[in-house]
């Protein structure tokens, strides 16, 4: 590409990126003084705590269950792999509100699992367990599919060589496969995290209480208007974005440097 064409392309790319990032400029919009009094602050900080603690618990479950599933799918042959991947894809493709309604029905008194859980004293609506379970459902597909892609990128011959050097399959996974796929796993986890922590549509149905940040933002917007929303919005972006953003940038850098 000659220099002048390259310059035009670069300017075009810059305009494109600026247009994409333009909504972020609203953080500096003149909407009057931000409201951060006791009435807003208490529930807002509580929602931050709920989101961070419960999403962390959800992600631990996602990693604990999703990693072996991804490892299994990664070594499946074409047709079986397609089947599992289609199953993982379904919760991703479900509209969040539909997922929330289906979740409430399935785990509520109408579903057999819901009745069983209720019998054991586990409430699956408006509870911490409902919040965590919804986030697991929301994030699992993203994590598993991302982890499968990361595992696929590890050359199979390295795993076979490791096995021929006397390592059992589980040791091969932890000493070769996982270290080589760790960045892909980090990206997969970061996508699951950002998807779960920002989930509104499903959580608003299954766990209006305890309110996480997205639900609290909605409540504040309805009750007090934009000035009351802005402080929590900034906190929301600050806790939700940096980790996945950094993981992606590092992954890209690793691919091209």
């Amino acid at each position: 590409m000659i220099a002048s064409h390259r310059l035009v392309a670069r300017i075009g790319a810059a305009v494109f990126a600026l247009a994409l990032l333009y909504p972020l400029s609203a953080l500096f919009a003149h909407i009057g003084a931000w409201q951060w009094d006791a009435e807003v602050r208490g529930p807002a900080l509580s929602s931050v705590r709920v989101s961070l603690v419960l999403t962390t618990v959800a992600m631990l479950i996602v990693v604990a269950i999703g990693t072996p599933m991804a490892a299994y799918i990664a070594q499946c042959k074409a047709m079986e792999r397609l089947l599992w991947q289609a199953a993982m894809l379904l919760p991703i493709l479900l509209p969040p509100l539909a997922l929330g309604i289906l979740f409430t029905l399935a785990f509520g008194p109408y579903g057999s699992v819901g009745r069983l859980l209720n019998h054991w004293g586990v409430a699956m609506t408006n509870s911490a367990s409902a919040f965590v379970a919804t986030q697991v459902y929301v994030g699992m597909g993203y994590f598993v599919l991302g982890a499968v892609a990361a595992l696929d990128a590890v050359p199979p011959m390295l795993q076979k060589q490791a096995a021929l050097l006397g390592l059992t399959p589980i040791k091969v996974f932890f000493r070769v496969t996982l270290p080589l796929a760790r960045l892909g796993f980090a990206v997969a986890l970061s996508i699951a995290w950002v998807r779960a922590v920002g989930e509104f549509g499903a959580v608003v149905v299954t766990a209006y209480y305890p309110s996480g940040m997205p639900v609290q933002l909605w409540v504040d917007l309805q009750s007090f208007g934009l000035p009351a929303v802005m402080p929590l919005l900034v906190i929301f972006l600050a806790v939700a974005l940096p980790l996945p953003w950094l993981a992606h940038v590092l992954a890209q850098r690793r691919s091209y440097v």
Partner: protein
């Protein structure tokens, strides 16, 4: 004693082999590209599964049923050295050493011998991802030999290396084959490499079938097929 007789059905043609090999003996698998040589080695290594037959190594049955890779006392070197890029040269070489043997004096001395003979000392702490192709082959060889395998399978491990390095590596392999006592089955499409590495005997494969098995002088004197005559002819 290595004893195998098996068939592997590929999409194009079945690959069949029957072979007995004593301790510290070697045989070269020779033939044109795509004749099934690598398939034979992959089946013996356990990377691919034969469809029928048997593979025994001493009293150990490798197939059937297929013995898990980690229980096979087999070393397998391919064109790609397949080093672990996230580890150093030292960590690659000692990768197969069980934790409880790391400080075993005999094992430590063996690793030091390999490091010395394969000239790995200057690279010892370097990242495996940042060494040259020739150095990587030497590291892969050391990594394989650390476990003192009973059988070594070589699938064109010297492709793309300069002649001097190939000569050195072959001499090292022959030296260690005698020292450790492992048998060797090597594949190459260059007869001169195989003749030096496995001077005792050769097996010629064409479209998956053994067309000749004998000494190299037999092959030269009475090649079984026109293709073999052509492969053995000087350029």
């Amino acid at each position: 004693m290595f004893d195998a007789e098996f068939t592997k059905h590929r999409r194009d043609f079945p690959v069949r082999l029957s072979l007995q090999l004593g301790a510290a003996q070697s045989v070269g698998l020779f033939g044109a590209s795509g004749a099934g040589k690598s398939t034979v080695l992959a089946c013996i290594a356990g990377v691919e599964q034969p469809d029928d037959g048997h593979i025994d190594l001493g009293s150990l049955r490798l197939f059937p049923p297929s013995l898990p890779l980690h229980q096979r006392p087999v070393g397998y070197l391919t064109q790609e050295p397949s080093l672990f890029p996230h580890l150093s040269v030292r960590e690659n070489v000692t990768f197969g050493v069980p934790k409880h043997e790391v400080s075993d004096p005999e094992r430590v001395s063996w690793i030091a011998t390999l490091r010395e003979r394969l000239k790995l000392a200057p690279l010892w702490d370097a990242s495996a991802a940042r060494i040259s192709g020739g150095q990587a082959r030497r590291v892969a060889l050391a990594r394989m030999l650390v476990r003192k395998p009973s059988l070594v399978l070589l699938d064109e491990p010297f492709a793309g290396l300069d002649r001097q390095l190939v000569r050195e590596l072959i001499d090292d392999l022959i030296f260690w084959s005698r020292t450790v006592g492992f048998s060797m089955i090597a594949v190459d499409h260059q007869s001169e490499v195989l003749m030096r590495l496995c001077p005792e005997s050769a097996i010629v494969l064409e479209r998956g079938q053994v067309v000749q098995h004998g000494t190299w002088s037999d092959l030269r004197r009475t090649p079984a097929t026109p293709l073999l005559r052509s492969l053995l002819a000087p350029l």
